[in-house]
Amino acid sequence: MNRYSFWVPSTLLFVALASHFQTNGEADIASSIAKVDTLPARFGFGRPATGAEITRLDIDVRPDGKGLPPGQGQVAIGRQIFATKCVACHGTVGGPNGSLVTTTNPDRKRPEKTIGNYWPYATTVFDYIRRAMPFSQPGSLTNDEVYHLTAYLLQANGIIDEKTLINAQTLPRVVMPAQKLFVPDDRKGGPEIK
């Protein structure tokens, strides 16, 4: 703060002269005015979030299972829910709006990217269904329904068997085949093309 005090009077003088002579010296003025940081540590704007409103909005689920709600899913029930609430867009196995289970010939040069061969974390299936599906009625499924659907889709992709129950403990432990395929971005600019 002290090192700026010398500059203040001369700065004021310069501003006064500049305005008097109608000069176009904006840049010079700006560079000669000592900048004093007036920012407070905190402004005090906003209000404290209540626990209830955080709980209402905090619907995300992490790969370690943090965020998964109580409830449990069974493959057979999930299959029934899929047939009533998902099949219109996704078809019975796959469909036009994002392949969920691969239906194409594996010999094809460019295989479809599905939950079974491309989704690296099983928790993402739960998180995405709960947040965004069904497309026309997002948020309409109960947590149990989301668990059932997650179980069915994992089974349909050959990742779990018909009997496996899916819940907050078992879902994070499901290892997806694609997890080992993903690597972090290593592009850094410069001459190398990556």
Binding site: L39, A41, R42, F43, F45, G46, R47, P48, A49, E53, I54, L57, D58, I59, D60, V61, R62, P63, D64, K109, R110, K113, I115, Y118, W119, P120, Y121, T123, T124, D127, Y128, R131, A132, F135, P138, A178, L181, F182, V183, P184, D185, D186, R187, K188, G189, G190, P191, I193, K194
Partner: protein
């Protein structure tokens, strides 16, 4: 006789969608009073509205909102999930807000700004809720920067315009509060390494972002080109991460959660990831690599032999554009293009190169170099580096245009495999 009562504002302001689609024959919809006194809408041709001499007839009076000339038919090109900016029709570097590209995952939500709030919680000392009015009280910042969807590539055929090839990039002046200001306000804990950004659309779109970007230059933006954000760009509040793939700049922002790990949402795992070699897929590819494209002359325009000013845009998510080169002989030799000021960090930069075409068939193309020394690659270089299973994300090859002796300009497709 029908008495035509033309409301002047309708000349440009209220052209119906049907009229627009009707093409050149109909320029405006006027209210027409029939003999029975009933008022109906009727299409009126531009010629009927135009005075023979504009200096002899009083013009439109001052209005509340300006309009685009009825002669200008500049439009985005929509699909079900996105709408592409008409790059070939732009002048300068700012994208008119209503022509900024759109990409959303479940439509554009209608949000009342008086009811919208942003919650910041997780690994913070003090979880807080901010209204839009709260956000506007904080010190504001503005920056001019591009925003590009990382899935911004189309190819494969000759009849493609710049809009169709890479119209998912646009540029605005974005104004808002620095995210670092909000981070200080809530007291982000030292062990927070990522944050989740969540939108208020029906996709409740989420992305994980490293906390470092939040401290560096992230903005919680509420304005675009001098006015409130357009709904398509996130009204009333969006995240803006300059230089990063557009999907991370989450629109209709309602929540930020600080965490010690990424959340692995759908949009950062099964989408927005791209194949590289050996069956591997790259994840969290945030930076937009440098890219340029000639926007004139391009398909579907035609040209004449003689002097042509080749024009285009260049940008990099890693900093400033330092050089754009143009080739008029299919890449055999390159000449420096002139860069138009301002040359801004992580911003579309205009370039031009004046050339005398002798009328023989050739190909023209541009390549940009950014301040990291990265030179925009050819399609073949990208395929060599990443393999041939190119998903389209972060695909920024040199774009070539064929000039035919009859004056036609066609895109030159590269073969995917």
């Amino acid at each position: 006789m029908k008495k035509i009562r033309i409301q002047l504002e309708q000349l440009t302001n209220r052209i119906s969608r049907r009229t627009m689609l009707g093409g050149a024959a109909t320029a405006a919809v006027a209210l027409v009073q029939t003999a029975s006194g009933k008022t109906i809408q009727q299409g009126v041709s531009l010629n009927e509205l135009l005075p023979e001499d504009p200096t002899k007839q009083i013009g439109t009076l001052a209005g509340e909102v300006g309009t685009r000339s009825a002669f200008e038919k500049v439009v985005k090109k929509p699909s079900d999930i996105s709408s592409r900016s008409p790059l070939q029709d732009f002048y300068g570097i700012i994208t008119p807000s209503d022509l900024h590209f759109e990409r959303h995952h479940a439509g554009v939500p209608a949000i009342d700004p008086a009811k919208h709030e942003l919650l910041i919680h997780g690994l913070v000392d003090k979880p807080l809720v901010f209204t839009v009015a709260d956000l506007k009280r904080f010190p504001s910042v503005s920056r001019i920067a591009f925003l590009e969807c990382s899935g911004n590539f189309r190819g494969g055929k000759e009849t493609l315009s710049p809009q169709e090839i890479c119209g998912l990039t646009s540029q605005s002046e974005w104004t808002g509060v620095k995210l670092s200001t909000l981070f200080r306000e809530v007291g982000v804990k030292p062990n927070a390494s990522w944050f989740l950004a969540e939108g208020s659309d029906t996709a409740i779109m989420t992305r994980s972002v490293p906390v470092k970007k939040g401290w560096d230059d992230a903005i919680v933006a509420y304005a675009q080109n001098g006015e409130a954000l357009r709904p398509e760009q996130g009204y009333p509040v969006r995240l803006f991460l300059s230089g990063w793939e557009g999907n991370t700049s989450v629109k209709w922002l309602r929540r930020l959660e600080l965490s010690d790990q990424p959340f692995m949402t759908r949009e950062e795992t099964s989408k927005y990831t791209e194949p590289i070699k050996d069956g591997k897929y790259r994840q969290f590819s945030f930076d937009i690599d440098a890219r340029s494209i000639i926007t004139y002359p391009t398909y579907p325009k035609t040209v004449e032999k003689g002097w042509i000013e080749i024009r285009g845009l260049a940008w990099s998510g890693r900093g400033k554009v330092v050089r754009v080169e143009v080739s008029t002989d299919a890449g055999k030799s390159w000449q420096l293009a002139t860069l138009q000021d301002p040359i801004l960090d992580k911003a579309h930069t205009a370039f031009r190169y004046v050339w005398n075409w002798n009328g023989t068939e050739t190909e023209i193309m541009s390549r940009v170099t950014d301040e990291t020394g990265y030179v925009q690659p050819t399609f073949a270089q990208l395929a060599k580096a990443r393999g041939t299973d190119n998903g389209g994300y972060h695909f920024n090859p040199i774009t070539a245009w064929q000039l035919k002796p009859d004056g036609r300009v066609l895109h030159r497709p590269d073969n995917l495999r």
